[in-house]
């Protein structure tokens, strides 16, 4: 059992480098480049960031599907890469919902068989009732248990993968873009279900998503990644109120609102510059070629992730220069009310 105050999950300076070919020559792709974070029991950590910045790679390392090139991942203080019992116990307690449902649904097996797998791995024999129950909770007709994945719509397959991840009451579930392919009523239903399970069972989540509003709803804390690194880490409330890294702000500015008039009249500011390559990350601050605040210092020196307020860490030389978010401004939250009750 976890001792008081010990985080459930600790990620220490983790790196994942891939060997790739670039123009015929060997090169190293720094998909994740020194990420540290921690997650308490019963807590949700939201992860947002540019496409290709290493979120899925980080997720795969956390669930043990990929070995870090460097760094450590601890669950309740124990290294998850330890072979034998400790490692097995960890894997039994951790589930992942993949960005693409084919990651967890075997095309040759019925939905029911795939969903039951984590329970069977624990030695439970007859899972039919459990499968029907969990399918209903994710809004699927229990009759779907006998179908094959290709007979389901994209969102139906995704719900089956969520059901699979939840069926064995794991301690930690990593959701990689798990709800984006669902209609918004179902998205709300799944978010509600996750909140319920967290309250009932103390489940912890890592919630990766491009939907800032959804991340703000489900998360206690949020980290923002850019090109393999964490550039901002803060509480969800603070993130909704005032993110401080210029990249976080550009995310907020590009968020679309369900309001045609506002969207028609809004100038569409695109991030300037090319999307940088993880093969040759820019010098100094990796965001500097695209940053409106960049100076020579940013080109030369890498800003450290530093604490600038309680629970608020930013890797930027000029966090005080970030424009303030005004009401109705660039925010992903649609009202200024951000008071937040932590359950």
């Amino acid at each position: 059992m976890s001792s008081e105050g010990q985080p459930l999950l600790e990620v220490h300076d983790v790196k994942k480098h891939f060997d790739v070919k670039s123009h015929g020559a060997k090169a190293v792709l720094r998909a994740v480049d020194g990420v540290s974070l921690s997650l308490n029991s019963g807590e949700t950590l939201g992860v947002v960031g540019e496409s290709g910045c290493g979120k899925s790679t980080l997720a795969r390392m956390i669930v043990g599907l990929e070995k870090p090139t460097d760094g450590k991942i601890l669950m309740e203080g124990g290294d998850i890469s330890t072979p034998g019992r400790a490692g097995r116990a960890y894997r039994a307690n951790v589930q992942m919902v993949f960005q693409n449902p084919s990651g967890s649904m075997n095309p040759r097996r019925s939905i029911g068989a795939s969903v039951a797998e984590p329970l069977q791995a624990r030695g439970v024999r007859n899972c039919r009732e459990e499968v029907a129950k969990v399918l209903a909770r994710v809004g699927l007709n229990p009759d779907f248990a006998s179908r094959r994945p290709h007979q389901l719509s994209g969102g139906q397959q995704q719900r089956a993968s969520i059901a699979r991840a939840l069926i064995s009451d794991p301690r930690l579930v990593v959701h990689d873009e798990a709800i984006a392919s669902l209609d918004i009523s179902l998205q709300a239903q799944i978010l509600n279900l996750l909140l319920d399970l967290q309250q009932e069972l103390g489940m912890s989540y890592v919630f990766i998503s491009h939907d800032l509003a959804a991340v703000q709803i489900i998360s206690h804390r949020i980290v923002v990644m850019y090109l393999g690194e964490v550039v901002e880490a803060t509480s969800a409330g603070e993130f909704a109120r005032q993110p401080l890294h210029p990249y976080s702000l550009s995310l907020r500015a590009a968020t679309l609102f369900p309001d045609p008039e506002r969207e028609r009249n809004k100038p569409h500011v695109l991030l300037k510059g090319d999307v940088p390559s993880p093969l040759a990350p820019p010098s100094g601050c990796r965001f500097h070629p695209r940053c409106p605040l960049a100076t020579d210092l940013c080109k030369a020196e890498k800003p450290r992730l530093s604490k600038i307020a309680e629970e608020h860490h930013v890797a930027c030389h000029y966090p005080e220069k970030t424009p303030t978010i005004t009401e109705g401004g660039a925010g992903a939250s649609r009202s200024t009310e951000t008071a937040r009750e932590v359950i």
Binding site: S51, D143, Q151, I217, P258, D259, E261, S277, P278
Partner: protein
């Protein structure tokens, strides 16, 4: 400009499996049209037939699915009776498609560049193909386009694959682009870039865009009109502002209530009550009846999709009788009732 819409779908029916009375009618008498330079959004329930509609238009419905009726006119020509050869020629040039699942659209054993080159070759555009390919990868915000052309789908992140599929859909500048959830795997800054690119195709080249998405922000940004699907049917169609401010079908109104509001952390959100419809059983009356807060005796008969005011169609008895649904929660300020 001619009056002939680029795409006109009429009474389209697509079924999966089973004899009469069996199987699933995934697309049930669906009709809509998209004109030059216009963007029609399709939103709706998961499993309501949006992707199958898109695949039916291109005649790509997987077995055991089959198109059982209706017309699909592309620039005035019905595609359904065409030979396999003729339809293949039109895919890509006249009509491009961005599929929901990038992995089904990409071949795992060929490099990205080869696959894009193949799309160009199929339409006789061999010249300067590597330049065209790199340019179109850069256009969708791909880092290192030259290197990425040589990589394989499994070496890419989810969003990179999605961008490749978008680049493929756009590469031959089709007159009709069907985009099925094109931006779900993209961060919002890349999404903005990709949406701009699609907008250019419609505004500069006069192409028609059919945009299937669950993202109401994307709908608000991109669409002129919106069709809402539920249980295989179009239940409402209206100009985009009407949908957001004056929806005339209870399903649409329920859906809009669930748009997430980031200002309410850790609070439960409103959802549609009740069970999703069971498509394998025959329906009785309005398909939304069991979940509808406005249902009454009229709703045991199946409503048609009728115009309730110019340009606004609804498949609801209450709307057709001109009765009020009560105030629509403001999607901007407080969408939680």
């Amino acid at each position: 400009m001619s009056d002939v819409p680029v795409l006109k779908v009429e009474e389209l029916i697509t079924r999966f499996g089973g004899g009469p009375g069996q199987g699933v009618t995934a697309v049930d008498h669906v009709s809509f049209s998209v004109g030059r330079g216009e963007t029609l959004g399709i939103v709706g329930e998961s499993g309501s037939g949006k992707s199958v509609t898109a695949m039916s238009i291109l005649r790509l419905v997987p077995r055991p699915g089959r198109i059982d009726g209706g017309r699909v006119e592309l620039n005035g020509v019905d595609l359904l009776p065409l030979s396999e050869d003729e339809i293949r020629k039109r895919r890509g040039t006249e009509c491009g498609m961005v599929f929901q699942n990038p992995m089904t659209a990409l071949n795992p054993v060929f490099s990205i560049g080869w696959q894009m080159g193949e799309a160009l070759r199929a339409h006789g555009r061999e010249r300067n193909s590597s330049q065209i390919i790199e340019g179109s990868l850069a256009g969708v915000g791909m880092p290192d386009p030259q290197r990425q052309a040589n990589s394989f789908p499994h070496q890419m992140s989810g969003g990179m694959r999605q961008r490749v599929v978008i680049a493929l859909g756009l590469i031959n500048e089709p007159q009709l682009l069907i985009a099925d959830e094109p931006t779900t795997a993209l961060d919002v800054t890349i999404q903005a870039q990709v949406l701009d690119l699609m907008k250019k195709l419609t505004s500069e080249k006069g192409a028609a865009l059919l945009m299937i998405t669950h993202n109401m922000g994307v709908i608000a940004r991109m669409c002129d009109r919106v069709a809402v699907m539920y249980a295989g049917e179009v239940v409402e169609e209206a100009p985009v502002d009407e949908i957001f401010s004056n929806a005339r079908h209870p399903y649409t109104r329920g859906l809009l209530r669930s748009v997430p509001d980031g200002a309410r952390p850790l609070q439960k959100m409103p959802t549609l009550p009740g069970e999703p419809p069971d498509m394998s059983r025959p329906f009785d009356g309005c398909r939304f009846r069991a979940r509808c807060e406005f249902a009454d005796h009229r709703c045991s008969a199946h409503p048609d999709l009728l115009e309730i005011r110019p340009g606004h169609r609804s498949r609801c008895w209450v709307a057709q009788a001109g009765e009020e649904f009560g105030p629509q929660p403001d999607s901007e300020a407080d969408n939680v009732v």
